[in-house]
Amino acid sequence: MAVAADPIDGTRLKEQFPLLSRDVHGKKIVYLDSAATSQKPLAVLDAMDDYYRTINSNVHRGVYMIAEEATNRMEIARALVRDFIGARSSSEIIFTKNATESLNLVAQSWGRANLVAGDVVVLSHMEHHANIVPWHMLVAEIGIELRWIPLDSEGRLDLTNLDTLLEGAKVLSVTAMSNVLGTMNPVRTLTDAARKAGAISIIDGCQSVPHSATNVQEIGADFLAFSGHKMCGPTGVGVLYGREELLEAMPPFLGGGEMIRDVRLDGFTTNDLPWKFEAGTPAIAEVIGLGAAVEWLNGVGMDKVRAHELALTEYTISTLHERFGDRINIHGPSSPLERGGVFSFDFDGLHPHDISQVLDQHAVCVRAGHHCAKPLMKLLGIGATARASVYVYNDTADIDALADALDATGAFFTL
């Protein structure tokens, strides 16, 4: 199970993330919750700070110099995001407040315009609530039908009956990577099957876009949603990529300033893409921060990010199994090649809240709970898990600290 040598020194990268130098309970912080939100490098903090200090003004309106600079900076960020995911045009990059809004935008705008009672939307059992509830809302409102791709025993999508599930479907909406199991899904296979069935494909890229190179042409998705704050950018900005012809045909989502070309007493006409979907003053500083995050990630290299996390994934799984044997159960695929750096685990039969509480005393930050994926938790037959997740700035010392803290946790509760 040999993987390529780790091309990234996470220990050195930590220096670029101010938060990672702080102490918690008198110990250096060990941050293992990047699947919830990533830490931010200085480059991102500086870009946002610089916007507020030197060019703070509203975009796409003022004719004065700093307003033009702010507009330029925002549109440069859009171009950076466009190139980061291989979109053909900046018109296809819509800034939202987060990936949840991106998915709601598609469901509300495309869904309400194109779906009628009885139409089928196919989801999977490993979806985040953000890719379930917007569709439940259309079940209530329109009467669409939901079908679910099941999972196999290792937490991978079971695609045996995919073509049957997609028969007559209008939409396939699935995650590229599970935020609970770490499973990386065969996105191209899924979008190909959707296209063959005449369905549009929506990919939730929250856990994949920050961690590996993404090209929307290669994955063949009609829509791709992801958030800025999981990829070294700030909270408050997300992205919806959509194929231009689909976006052109869609009605607007939110109405207001910016999204209009003309407003009269008897109606309005919409602005061009992408602004048609960006009503009101956007999160300018955050968009600029996301642009800086993309530049920072480009500087590291997304292929190296994936290689680093693959090496860390292998190290994590082997370390935890070697040290704890049957005391630990890591959910999701056993092969590191099939998964990202997200490790949901059961340990010593302890409740995840108790685990994370003790880990916190050792300055180890992990998530405990249902991870906004309750249907999946029910399928796994558990109420909650503890989850550790890694990113580009983590290193093997962080994993050793996790293992040491788990050791202490086990001892604490079994004395």
Partner: protein, 157 residues
Amino acid sequence: MPGLEDLYREIILDHYRNPRNRGELETPPAHRVEGFNPLCGDEIVLYLDLDADGRVADIRISGQGCSISQSSASMMSAAVKGKTVAEIDDLTRAFKAMMSIHENSLEGAETTEPIESPDVKLGDLEALRGVVKFPVRIKCATLAWNTLAQGIEEASA
């Protein structure tokens, strides 16, 4: 800075490892009630047998949860066995006062009136006082109590 020893007192860990009154009761005569903490997936199933005098003749608890919710349920079961509904009401109010929870805030309604703590000995339950220093865990400690209140209300109806 509160430490782990504030939260996980030895008596709490004892109740967690050796829960009292664990199990089920036949329904009827016993009344069965479920409580959930949707945030962490904890669930408690409480079996309550009230006698003709409105006294808890027997109580059993099953379900799953963290050490705080499990130990709180275990201590509660030991504390309320043999007590009348009125005595339990006092005990519940004393416990919630210790948890710094105002009368209605668990139901979503905010109130600024602090609970007047009845003159009741909390005994082992005192060990849960440290939970207040870990606000996210207060819901764990109160789950069993809210479930009991619901059970008494239903059983007395």
